[in-house]
Symmetry: C2
Subunit: 197 residues, 2 copies
């Protein structure tokens, strides 16, 4: 029984958390009820995301079950969360007992703030690499989809959370199981307009 | 001024609509306020998606502005919508004036039901290809990310909506602009576990 926890907060970037949410909840569905995915927020109340979508978390942080995988998105709202001591205290406690502590995009700033990335290799959205380097504490890697260092896994911007979440599922179960999730979400990506014309 | 409309309904699959939502709303953000993305539902009330995420639409269908791009997701909830005459009537009217009528995953069944796919080439989630063929009316194509036939564009399962939405943005503006959206969401996908080991 694995519990995947995905966090959301005001002005979180939509795909940052819904990409992993889809992967983890599909993994839970394919596990035949053994695994579970939960969407968490500071309160069970509507949260307005960065691009205007409103979501309602399933559970308050304080009511969350023990998480095996913790996933923190980014988005401009992460700036407020970097100063939200209630959120950071929860993050430290939940992450301390998790098997994997993960972030997507600028969610990496929250892992750094909470102390998970000290002396570790991490990544973030390409436009925030320099800002994260200036914070110190961590070694910031660029040009990769995600970085694993110990039990901390940080993904690059927005859509990179899908690749990262699939990798995590493969670690929690098997690569073959992760491929079944990939098949379920038909993730054989082919971005259009590859040519310069 | 382009208006992108993404529809949501009970038991819609999360990434089916959030993938295009992220692409269209990022396009709107990068347009400097010229374009707009709206999330629509039958009512402005919480909608429980297929994997348990709850969203609140921004606008009711009846309050929607004229849409240039209409995007219909799939998910098991599409079965109820196939019999929802209120939804189908709105879909026919909104689609009739849209430049592009699009679907993701089993949302294709709703475009067929509304009459948009008659005698057209369409696709859907790999697991529902046979079911869609049995309905008749349309020629069902498999093994592609999305199919464009006239102004109807149907994407394959779940994550394929991201590729489709980027293509649509390139048609509404330019391929270079679509690439800027791709860059914004850092969509350089690299699914893990490509090898069989």
């Amino acid at each position: 029984m694995a519990v995947y926890g995905v966090v959301v907060f005001e002005e979180a970037e939509e795909l940052d958390f819904v990409g992993p949410w889809e992967v983890f909840s599909a993994a839970a569905a394919l596990s035949g009820g053994e695994d579970q995915a939960v969407l968490l927020g500071e309160r069970v109340a509507p949260v307005r995301c960065a691009k205007g979508m409103t979501v309602v978390p399933q559970l308050a942080l304080t009511d969350a079950p023990g998480l095996d995988v913790l996933c923190v998105p980014g988005g401009e709202g992460r700036r407020a969360q970097q100063k939200n001591e209630v959120f950071l205290a929860w993050l430290r406690a939940a992450g301390a007992r998790a098997t994997w502590v993960t972030s997507v995009c600028t969610g990496a700033f929250l892992l750094v703030e909470a102390g998970f990335a000290a002396h570790k290799r991490v990544t973030t959205h390409w436009s925030r690499i320099d800002e994260l380097r200036e914070r110190g504490d961590a070694t910031v890697v660029e040009g990769v989809r995600f970085v694993r260092d110990g039990n901390v896994v940080t993904a690059a911007g927005v859509s990179a959370g899908i690749d990262m979440a699939l990798w995590i599922v493969g670690q929690m179960r098997t690569p073959a199981f992760a491929r079944s999730v990939q098949r379920y979400i038909e993730y054989d990506p082919a971005p259009p307009y590859a040519s310069e014309t």
